[in-house]
Subunit: 414 residues, 3 copies
């Protein structure tokens, strides 16, 4: 007797519409490897920001699985993304994190590369040694309004253009490319990356888990059935406010409507300008702006929250600051979530903004989500787990994500 | 060339009678998975006590492998055992350990279950949502004189009745169902669960390793060959004392003889009323009772030690207190041993009993056994290990355990 | 779709001459298991020193993978190497490290063995129990001038004789067999053992990474192309000095020339008497001797550095002290490096030598090398790694090592 396990293909085919995924898709190591190949190598993923490397010579090392990338700004002020692997015997050139360099010098045998990646000098290899084909390997990337997307595979999907078209215009006044990173937080969630993303794609859990966020974040309920009359009234009020603001924003030239590419596509994203609750300005403890200096060329604090998410990121762009987050799978049951808080490049901590006010809502929310994701992972690993039903009202985006996931897996031959 | 490894079936067939098991049965991950299926899913295992949940609304979470169980007492004072997995998206409902609850509420989206497991309310799922078939899954269980046995599989073995028949009567005067848990200790042994059980099934090692236990625990030697005359004399004296006490106890209505079901069975157990050494009352540093209040309805301190073990537990029920232990495998080389010390429900720490006197013998013994099991595991993992001979005098129970293990593995198709 | 991985044989065949190994040979678990079988079981490996057990009854436990070995000195002053696994139920007899014992007594059931390994007594096994075939299993070993080599397999390669022939004579005046271990350091490198050995087989990296070592260690450059005239001049000077000293040493009866067995062999080694830089005496911060008492019967401090390395060790024998190091793989990405500093057996710390002066150069060097090896491991695990070219001038020994490795793997059926 052998305890035989279903193939990945069997798992994909066994998924019941409208239900969470079969356990193995969240828990198995072979699925993790397939996910890394299909979704983190062959799709575009968001891994960094232009403003991670503000000055020429700035480098920023980001790891995606075993792949280590150097994001840098070269002497011509251009962003580049290179593999962090020496062409001699494969040594890591830079340590994780941020550095400032003139050249890229491997610490093992001092092979020295230009910021373009070209090999400048390889000592003691002999005078005949041909350096021309020994540059650091380059990586496909694009900056979408200041968010750096890479594709590690050789055939980057063309439909990234939809994302570019939607976001360049929306992000322009925020000038994310030249923002300042006021704070960064890494948290390792004890869960599969798909549970991390599912958690992010619904606010069904917000009322019960995110008291800090709920001050400013409005969990639109206008497509749900109402638990009671009070809830119904609140929802109708929110809907009216949303409609009114959206009309006004669009009239003023700020694109606000939903743009989404969620099915029959490679590059998965959704953006929408959301209204902010309470004081209406920002995701802070009292919903007022955290920074006196507004983002980029913004002059108004009442332009809501340009919300954008993709299959490994979520972002909120507000008048006074922005919050960006990326998710990088570490194993079938661990996912790194890296959150950054951005302010105007000239904003000064303690003068223009208070760091605690700026960061406290999403620090709390991120920790709460990590706890929920860990509980979910433990549950889907339990042999007694069976996929359960998504709500038709609050979890539609999860169903779309599941469909997109399964379609792309199958399209990749699984 | 491939280093090919034998099948589990080959390993089982290669076991030499009267010898310890082939290494792979203690060390391989595939054997661990098979063990979990055959012995910890499809057999009855001891995982808790009625008195872990003394009051209605008390819950106690126990994990067996990746399976998490909620043991609880409902509003009708009945014990129930439920799977700790929400029927929505599979989230863990309760954290490990003990809680007191009115309902079982999933912290993710507030799906709310009755203590019976029935789904009472699933917010925002829509008015048409059918909650009737979404209750928490239930688990087969039985309380054997206050010891909770579960079977996670669908076909619980019928021969648990022998255990029930043997123990309900013996345990009645101790009233384990209503005892108080004075202390609990978890230790993770660095060894396979079968090494944990082998260690527990012989006292060959006691003299060399358990000085504290040996004050009160008599390692019967009357079926061994004697090392010398002195040992022979001691053994004959012990045998005489055992015979005398057993006769007296049986006459007074206290079942004392050996009842064992060790071969050609599913439910593996052995019970016997043992004599206690020295002062003869209890497994304490001086063998006198640790608690002034006796267990349940007991009026005598001289009724020896009702010893009971199964394939994942061992227990000692004495006049003044009881010690229970369960073993739950965590991996091929790690096993959780959870020990509990029970006293009369009305006994008060510091008044009726001194906690240190109550617990010190088995705290020391448990740590000593953990050390021995870790040494054994390291040894059987060594490529130079070959199964060695069990003693015909002191390790007969280990041979029976090995036979039972192999028989059940084969009966399960391995 | 299955992500199929190449066989080990494919990996071996895909190696490009003059280039570092294909990634899988450094990273895969199945290759690690094959390496342990081919190179750490079936070849001779250096694991200890005679002087680890200076007195009768001294024992020294060394683990190689899951195999635990007892190196001991018996009552007849003879070294023996035994498996640290009781013949009863497989328990580890001794803990890691050094002990002094009269007999080897298993702590589980007190089975008692002579220092020869013979089973003396097995309590309670019965009078008929035959102890004669139950001794601790022995291990093939040989002391090469005081360095203990073992072969765990049944067919130890015969070509160890070349090593013995080369070293017994060279090491005699240093009397390593009776040296004193002044200090020992264990470090776990986060890299495959082959990266550890590659790191040790070139000094291309020394100038950039080992400032302390470079005071005394001369990285001969006379077979390289020179970066500039200054370098050329230095190299020619060193070459002249080396020639002069070697001639003088040989004349005085100290074998100094290169003896190497690196290809078409099982036992891989190279020895050469090297000149020491600066003050010329010893690998210390100022290149002067650290110990006033010289090694063994040495009377001169100017006899250079008898350098010896094999496939799992490197050693430097100098007039005043010696440094020995062994590498033992722990997993595909972890290697234990154990370094020992030896002095004359009568040298007294604080009187004859200062411990910090004695050890500081190689403590620093070892840590620096561990850092480089970890960087290399991270790099070869990166999917973007491709094997790169070895320098024809400074990395020839690495190419020979790669060829030897691949040849032996293939000869073993891979």
């Amino acid at each position: 007797m052998q305890i035989s396990k279903p193939s990945i293909s069997d798992l994909l085919n066994s998924r019941k519409p409208g239900h969470s995924l079969p356990a193995g898709l969240y828990t198995r190591d072979d699925v993790f490897e397939a996910d890394m190949e299909v979704f983190f190598k062959n799709q575009w993923i968001n891994i960094a920001l232009d403003c991670d490397v503000p000055e020429p010579g700035d480098t920023y090392v980001v790891d995606v699985g075993k792949t280590s990338l150097i994001v840098l700004r070269d002497d011509d002020n251009q962003i580049r993304v290179l593999h962090n692997v020496c062409r001699h015997r494969g040594t890591r050139i830079l340590d994780p994190g941020q550095h400032m360099v003139a050249k890229l010098v491997c610490p093992y045998h001092q092979w020295t590369y230009e910021l373009s990646g070209d090999l400048l000098h390889a000592p003691r290899m002999g005078k005949d040694f041909d350096t021309s084909c020994r540059g650091l390997k380059t990586v496909n990337f694009v900056s979408v309004g200041g968010l750096i997307y890479v594709c590690l595979g050789d055939n980057p999907p063309a439909d990234i253009t939809s994302l570019i078209n939607a976001m360049e215009d929306r992000l322009a006044p925020y000038d994310i490319r030249n923002a300042k990173i006021a704070y960064q937080m890494d948290i390792i969630e004890d869960g599969n990356w798909k549970l991390t993303m599912e958690n992010n794609r619904e606010c069904y859990h917000c009322a019960g888990s995110h008291p800090e966020l709920c001050v400013s974040f409005i969990d639109f309920r206008f497509d749900t059935e109402y638990e009671n009359d009070e809830e119904r009234e609140i929802a109708l009020e929110q809907q009216a406010l949303y409609n009114e603001r959206t009309q006004e924003w669009e009239k003023a030239g700020y694109s606000s409507n939903v743009v989404a590419q969620l099915e029959h596509c490679n590059t998965n994203f959704r953006t929408q300008r959301l209204i902010i609750g309470g004081a209406g300005e920002s995701q802070t403890p009292d919903a007022t702006a955290a920074s006196k200096k507004l983002m980029g060329t913004m002059t108004r604090k009442d332009l809501g929250d340009v919300h954008l998410w993709g299959h490994n990121c979520w972002n909120h762009f507000m008048g006074d600051h922005a919050v960006t987050a990326t998710a990088i799978p570490l194993s079938s049951g661990k996912t790194l979530v890296r959150t950054k808080w951005l302010v105007n490049k000239d904003a000064v901590e303690g003068v223009d903004y208070d760091l605690d006010k700026l960061t406290s809502v999403w620090i709390a929310t991120t920790q709460q989500d990590a706890d929920l994701v860990a509980r979910s992972q433990a549950g889907v690993e339990d042999p007694s787990y069976i996929p359960g039903p998504y709500s038709d009202y609050t979890e539609k985006e999860l169903d779309k994500f599941a469909v997109w996931y399964i379609d792309l897996m199958k399209a990749s031959g699984y």
